[in-house]
Subunit: 477 residues, 2 copies
């Protein structure tokens, strides 16, 4: 490790400068490096291993619901991108254009996919003929490119990794059911695996995806009180089907348009993990996505038998993702590294411990120290990892709940946004103009109209007209 020194230097305090704290963590925990390709990052082993654990567990959940993986081309001819009017308006301003193939200019330029609705539609048009071909529930894992002006590692970069599911169904009801099913799958994944509570709801007309009839979202609250959109699921109705001519012969022998959905989650989730769980010592990883769950750190490792015992312990803990740090650094240095990297449990083992047939477990999340007998350390570590996973969720939820406030009038709304930060729950008239005025005045956007509606009052918090929906507002990444 060339960067040991930098790693154990103190990072910026999150209370002092949250944005700088974030940057310090992504760099010093070894998650990414900046590159000479502007707006694009290199994801290093410690970062990519988190993504692999996300992929594996999300993909398993997908497949349990009948999803099949496929791969579509990475380039989209301009004429294809233009077929659905709202969609091209949403994406054309922010795509990268390929105009030359080798030494020759292309007769038609192509963009690097910013998302693949148009490619899937072009594919489904030939692939689907009969009701027997439906539903199609396909997904791909790939990278996409959007030519963002301001970028930040994981949160907003010109290229990012994601999965994009694209489905086709015989009826509107079935498409809506799949849209909601995937949103709930995302929410459960965030809560169970990332230990991150989310609000499930629908985006407003203004905030929905380009070309969608309805966009559903899960919204999480970061440690600084800002919201992060963490996954979205779109119901396209038959809009794309009509634009692309995707028809099938139904059981009644009539030609009908399919109903479609799409849904995606991205490497942005790694940014969410950092900002929900991290602290002033660095990353704090939920055990289920920690590439290393247990780091064994030998104390006085030059003493006879210590390294042997550490290796023995690693074997005994083989059911977990476990490593021994037997490098020639000092234990204190190793502790700082393990904390910076967010490894959930540290096992300290030295000559005195060996003599007493024990070891010390140290929780990364609470720093609590627990002395355990070596005879039952595997059971104890297993239980502790489960406890940590559960406690991390509960702490994040308590933080989210204590930073969620109802606003009954406009003064309350502004006061909360300015002084309390976090989510504001408030009634809204349903008008885009009003939504825009709220954002202009406070910087807070509508995050979602939650599925779990509450009746806070009869009137819009901003304009006083009759209220249509309760909405979560917040400043957002």
């Amino acid at each position: 490790m060339a960067n040991d020194k930098k790693m154990v230097e103190a990072i910026t305090s999150m209370d002092e400068d949250f944005a700088q704290w974030y940057t310090d963590v992504v760099l010093k925990a070894g998650l990414i490096a900046y590159t000479n390709v502007k707006g694009c990052m290199a994801i290093k082993p410690a970062g990519y291993a988190i993504w692999e654990l996300i992929q594996k567990q999300l993909d398993e959940r997908f497949k349990a619901t009948g999803v099949e993986n496929v791969y579509m081309p990475m380039l989209i001819p301009e004429s294809l991108l233009e077929k659905e009017k709202d969609h091209v308006e949403g994406f054309a301003p922010e795509v990268a254009w390929v105009t030359y193939g080798g030494l020759n200019p292309l007769t038609e330029r192509m963009c690097v996919r910013p998302t693949s609705e148009t490619l899937f539609c072009d594919f489904y048009k030939n692939d689907i003929q009969s009701y027997r071909d439906l539903p199609r529930v396909y997904n791909q894992w790939c990278s996409v490119m959007r030519w963002e002006k301001e970028t930040r590692p994981f949160l907003r970069s010109r290229e990012f990794l994601w999965q994009e599911g694209h489905t086709a169904h015989a009826t509107a009801e079935e498409a809506e059911a799949r849209t909601i099913q995937m949103l709930n799958l995302y929410a459960d994944f965030c809560e169970d695996v990332l230990a991150m509570p989310v609000i499930r709801g629908q985006k407003t007309e203004k905030e929905k995806f380009a070309g969608a009839e309805a966009t559903y979202t899960i919204e999480a609250l970061m440690h600084d009180g800002k919201a992060l959109q963490s996954g979205t699921s779109h119901n396209f109705g038959d809009g794309f089907a009509k634009a692309f001519g995707i028809q099938f012969t139904d059981k009644d022998n009539k030609l009908k348009y399919v109903h479609q959905t799409s849904w995606g989650m991205t490497t942005r989730l790694i940014g969410a993990i950092i900002m929900v769980h991290g602290d002033n010592s660095g990353l704090v990883l939920p055990p289920k996505v920690a590439p290393t769950q247990v780091m064994i750190i030998p104390i006085m490792q030059k003493k006879a038998g210590v390294l042997e015992k550490a290796a023995e312990l690693r074997e005994k803990l083989g059911a977990f993702r476990v490593k021994v740090d037997d490098s020639d650094k000092s234990p204190g240095w190793k502790f700082s590294e393990q904390e910076m990297r967010g490894i959930p449990i540290r096992v300290e083992i030295g000559p005195k411990d060996i003599e007493a047939n024990q070891a010390v477990l140290v929780r990364r999340d609470t720093r609590e120290k627990i002395t355990v007998s070596l005879d039952e350390i595997d059971t104890k570590v297993g239980e502790l990892l489960e406890t940590i996973q559960k406690d991390m969720f509960e702490r994040a939820k308590a933080h989210r709940d204590s930073h969620t406030h109802a606003a009954l009038n406009w003064d309350e709304f502004k006061n909360i946004i300015d002084n309390e930060q976090g989510f504001v729950k408030a009634m809204w008239c349903g008008e885009t103009a009003c939504e825009e005025a709220i954002k202009d005045e406070t910087g807070a956007s509508t995050r979602c109209m939650p599925f779990a509606q509450e009746h806070l009052s009869d009137v819009c918090v901003h304009c006083g007209k009759p209220a249509k929906k309760m909405v979560y507002f917040g400043r957002a990444y």
Copy 2:
């Protein structure tokens, strides 16, 4: 399945038109669809599931040797591509150029990566400082783009999926050892998992990778007697390190250049599986990469108890990748589909079988039928899958060996290439001009200088000058 009819139509015989047979198989086995993005294919579920099994098993083997996965940007600025002279000459004519980001022309154009040596070098330049940072053994799974003129599904397409490993080492010896280690890992993978025998050897100067000091390759023989390069591993020495300035402080406190390697395998392997194992009924998949290993086909499924027994059997065979085809098609139709898709074992179960407490196993590779008791069907299926895997390798090896001939003089050489097809083993003088003349006269290129050298004669098969190496020649994909 909209395409049932097409699927069970006879495909072109491979003896009549091998190229058309190949195209029929990739389409009718549902592996790919053509797209409106010229030269790029859509990989459908049946094709992508094979790739997922390749990825999983290859990645496990990588990690067992210390490989870590990372992700680099997909775009390469032109100035970066140009840093290593041979490399840019090799790739610049066949890359796709991005010239616009959104509405604005780029100040420097960037290509979609055709391979990522330059990006890894740019990364390693900052990432590596000290001998303690070495070795770096990184890999990425991604798609790359090369602007090919003639394309064929899996074998040569403008975009393809692959893995590319890029390593950095303190010494030349270590880099060479890693280059050979990965080539052997590839060879073992092809033989153990894809049941495909390969020749391991070194590429000639003419055929080596742009920028490499040495390229090693594994070469397989397809059913039509043509060779397919199936994986390559390159030793770059310190050439890229000098071009990019990748230096480290060694133990002796001196600044030194690193030594680098790269190695890759691609979706081309799926083409290899098709052309090594396929037959006139379609695909034949080795059990280890068969997304479905066992297809249970109920006979007279409307009779009471048949579907229940089929479902019961699926449970009993739960240790394998097993499905029941309980659609309303006829058994004969289902047999054809299962054969076209290359599923290794078909289980036939009907009322008479149930009465006799038995089922019939049918091997896809040999069509052999084996009646087994339902009590021990799980054991028998497990054994049979192993036998099929082994037999498929042995058959492919026998075919390869019977299509490999030694040529001691030029007449023999031409005769073999024209009449026998397959590999020609022959002595070679080591001159590029001679190698080119051989290719011009016969269409056969040097496939590799095998590690397992034989002394066939003292002189070059073509020019009669003193021989330096025994070489495998062949016409190739």
